[in-house]
């Protein structure tokens, strides 16, 4: 090969590789404003308020440096009428380019959620850098702005704390794509975890994620909490390690009469029926295996009679929880967050064609639901009787 030909090839290869670096889309880390969480609220005068929690790498204490020079995060917000324009407005205040690639949390303010969330959804989807792996949360009793401004000492960046709590599934957790998916169908109604302010320690407030926000189509209709939330989580395959405590007998001298079990295994089965007249019924059967984690009663679980008694009481409790939760969603929320629509769709596809566009929303609150619950104790722990009881013999 001639030297000139070799030269030509070298130049060609160099040009090509120079273009491959993607210069136009390069993003230097020190030119980016890394958005860790974003929140959206509706103000009293019907405007939208967007809040971004932005990480400031210079504020982070290095390993050797010891202490931080400043706060590692900042929360900024802006008001306006169009969610997308707001990002542009915020950008005008920031010297670094707003970057959504690391956003792990999206918070919807309660006021905004009750009003309808259509505007946000498109913003969530269209950016190439937005990740579907972000979690979506709804605030309760506070605005998203307030939540994002709260300090949180366990993590440098509060949004990372929220993300970790969601990832660990201490409560319900909904990712953006799951949420968008449930908004786009009537098979199941959307839900997200609910975040609210709480007291952490003396004079300091933090946040708590302990309830679940229930939506109907695109509007927030209420919150599930307590026992009903527990039942809801069981129905959404998060039963593992949930505790169930019941009072079996009245308080006695040494015992309070409560028995606590951990759920080890849980299975649910939803069957739907359509009558000739078109009326809908559903039957929910759940079976759970559990382990006794605390026995504060006089029952001796090594005895069959006592064990059966405990099991039937627990089964009854499980039944009441689930039935109560379902009737709350039917009567109070009128929202099918449990997903009966999905069962109906798979079991009666022809019927579903008539229901899916809208009649299902009307039909769900009227549907009669039967619940069968069976809970078994498969392990009783290391002690037979309650350990601290005096020998009565």
């Amino acid at each position: 090969m001639k030297p000139s030909a070799i030269m030509m090839r070298c130049i060609l290869i160099l040009t090509v590789s120079a273009m491959l670096t993607g210069c136009w889309d390069r993003k230097e880390i020190d030119e980016l404003a890394l958005v860790m969480a974003s929140g959206i609220d509706m103000t009293d005068d019907d405007q939208i308020e967007l809040t971004l929690q932005i990480a400031l790498p210079t504020g982070m204490p290095g390993l050797l440096q010891g202490s931080a020079k400043g706060k590692p995060v900042m929360a900024i917000s802006v008001k306006g009428s169009n969610a997308h324009e707001l990002i542009g407005q915020l950008q005008q205040r920031l010297s670094r380019k707003i970057f959504f690639g690391h956003r792990g949390i999206v918070i919807i303010g309660e006021s905004f959620a009750r009003h309808g969330i259509d505007q946000v959804l498109d913003t969530l989807l269209r950016f190439p850098e937005s990740r579907y792996n972000s979690y979506i949360l709804t605030t309760q009793g506070a605005s998203a702005k307030e939540i994002l401004q709260l300090p949180y000492h366990m993590e440098l960046i509060p949004a990372i704390g929220m993300k970790t709590m969601q990832a660990a599934k201490y409560s319900t957790a909904t990712k953006i794509d799951e949420f968008l998916n449930s908004v786009s169908t009537h098979e199941i109604q959307p839900y997200t975890a609910a975040i609210r302010r709480t007291k952490m320690q003396e004079g300091e407030s933090g946040f708590e994620i302990d309830q679940t926000a229930v939506y109907l189509d695109n509007k927030l209709v209420g919150y599930l909490s307590g026992k009903h939330l527990k039942a809801f989580r069981m129905m959404h395959d998060q039963a593992k390690r949930l505790k169930l405590a019941i009072k079996i007998e009245p308080e006695k001298k040494f015992t309070k009469g409560t028995l606590t079990v951990d759920i080890l295994h849980f299975e649910k089965n939803i069957r739907t029926f359509v009558d000739a007249g078109g009326s809908l019924q559903a039957e929910v059967s759940v079976r759970a295996n559990s382990r006794v984690s605390a026995n504060d009663t006089t029952l001796n679980l090594s005895k069959t009679a006592d064990l059966t008694r405990a099991e039937s009481a627990l089964s009854q409790e499980l039944h009441d929880m689930i039935a109560g939760m379902i009737s709350q969603t039917q009567d109070e929320f009128k929202s099918d967050v449990v997903g009966f629509g999905k069962a109906l769709h798979t079991q009666h596809p022809e019927e579903w064609k008539k229901l899916k566009s809208g009649p299902w929303l009307e039909a769900y609150p009227k549907m009669s639901v039967r619940v069968n619950a069976e809970l078994r104790i498969v392990r009783v722990g290391r002690t037979q009787e309650s350990g601290h009881l005096l020998e009565e013999r």
Partner: protein, 366 residues
């Protein structure tokens, strides 16, 4: 210029897998919903049929490529008309694929980069491959890239396993019905039907008469990969979201999250995509240049590569947006015209006429 059967296998496999997966998933789901997997099975059967027709037609006169073959069988005038029909297909698909490639890169990873820059890089690359080595260098590239592409897809599928929810496939059949499922099969079938290029490529094989099994395996392998990958995409991002996204397969990769630190694997799919597009474009550029040269009696086909390359860039810039480039071409030309005519009709015509003539010649001589 000679290639081996294995190289042919990888060439067809890569061409089909990457493009089918990325470009036809959305139109497929829009038509067939959760029953897309049935559609893909049907599409695979159609592609197999095409492979059968094409290989048998090509083997009537081993060693002849499409341009000579059609003239041998149909005579000089009709043969040339047939070749022109194919040239239309080849010349239109190159700019369209180039444009689709650029759109994917623009939409998914580099929104700010000018289209022209992405296109020029790709065109330089394919022209280099087609100009210097011709089909041999393209074949060697596919032999090397092929296993990588398959590995990437398998890796993506394995890491997505924990996101799968099979209930998304229920209920089977009832929601969509036979007609919708058939309709959903067409886009994929038209992309899996790319083995029609075997008519051109067979002549370059060391042993042209032994190419059949490689084509069948390539089509079968591509169909299988596409079937698994598309079904998994549907079960991870559900039937309600997939039809609304441009490239659901990429979105599935974005959902991957393992052990809290294996995340954002979309570069893997981008590799698959770039490799697939590169091979496809290079093969088409080569056969377009080579075919034109042969038809017009031009001695040096290499010069044609240099002429075609800038033209395709210009044409690739023509479509106004993604819809025009992707949906309109696919649904208005590729499925209703290219598939029935170029992939099934003409090869079948060649096969039937060729068989009749052979029999007549055989009867005449004996």
């Amino acid at each position: 210029m000679k290639i081996t059967g294995l190289q042919l296998f990888w060439m067809i496999l890569i061409m089909e897998v990457g493009m089918t997966l990325v470009m036809t998933l959305t139109p497929g789901v829009q038509a067939a919903g959760q029953d897309l997997w049935i559609s893909i099975l049907i599409a695979g059967c159609i592609a197999m049929l095409i492979a059968w027709i094409v290989t048998n037609a090509a083997h009537l006169h081993p060693g002849q490529d499409l341009i000579r073959l059609s003239q041998t069988i149909l005579g000089s005038v009709f043969g040339k008309i047939v070749v022109v029909v194919y040239l239309v297909q080849w010349y239109t698909i190159i700019p369209i694929v180039l444009r689709q490639f650029t759109d994917v890169i623009n939409i998914m990873i580099m929104p700010e980069t000018p289209k022209l820059a992405v296109m020029i890089v790709m065109v330089l690359l394919i022209s280099y491959a087609a100009y210097y080595g011709g089909i041999v260098s393209i074949a060697r590239c596919s032999e090397m890239l092929g296993p990588i592409v398959v590995l990437m897809i398998v890796l993506v599928l394995l890491t997505s396993l924990n996101n799968v929810d099979v209930r998304n496939l229920l209920p089977v059949f009832v929601d969509n019905g036979a007609q919708a499922i058939l309709k959903g099969a067409l886009p994929s079938a038209s992309y899996l039907g790319h083995c029609v290029e075997y008519l051109m490529l067979a002549a370059f094989l060391y042993q042209p008469e032994k190419g059949k099994p490689y084509v069948y395996w390539a089509v079968g392998g591509a169909t299988f990969l596409v079937l698994v990958a598309m079904t998994m995409t549907l079960t991870t991002i559900s039937v309600h979201m997939s039809p609304r996204l441009w490239y659901p397969f990429f979105e599935m990769t974005r959902k991957i999250s393992l052990f809290g630190f294996i995340e954002n694997l979309d570069p893997l799919t981008i590799i698959t995509w770039v490799a697939s597009v590169f091979i496809k474009l290079a093969v088409y550029l080569f056969i377009a240049a080579y075919g034109t040269a042969e038809l017009l009696g031009i001695k040096n086909w290499r010069n044609l590569v240099l002429w075609i390359a800038p033209v395709i860039v210009a044409f690739a810039l023509l479509p106004k947006n993604v819809t025009q480039a992707t949906s309109n071409y696919l649904l208005n030309y590729w499925v209703p015209v290219a598939m029935p005519v170029n992939m099934i009709g003409l090869p079948l015509l060649l096969l039937v006429v060729g068989k009749i003539r052979q029999r007549r010649n055989g009867a005449g001589s004996s």
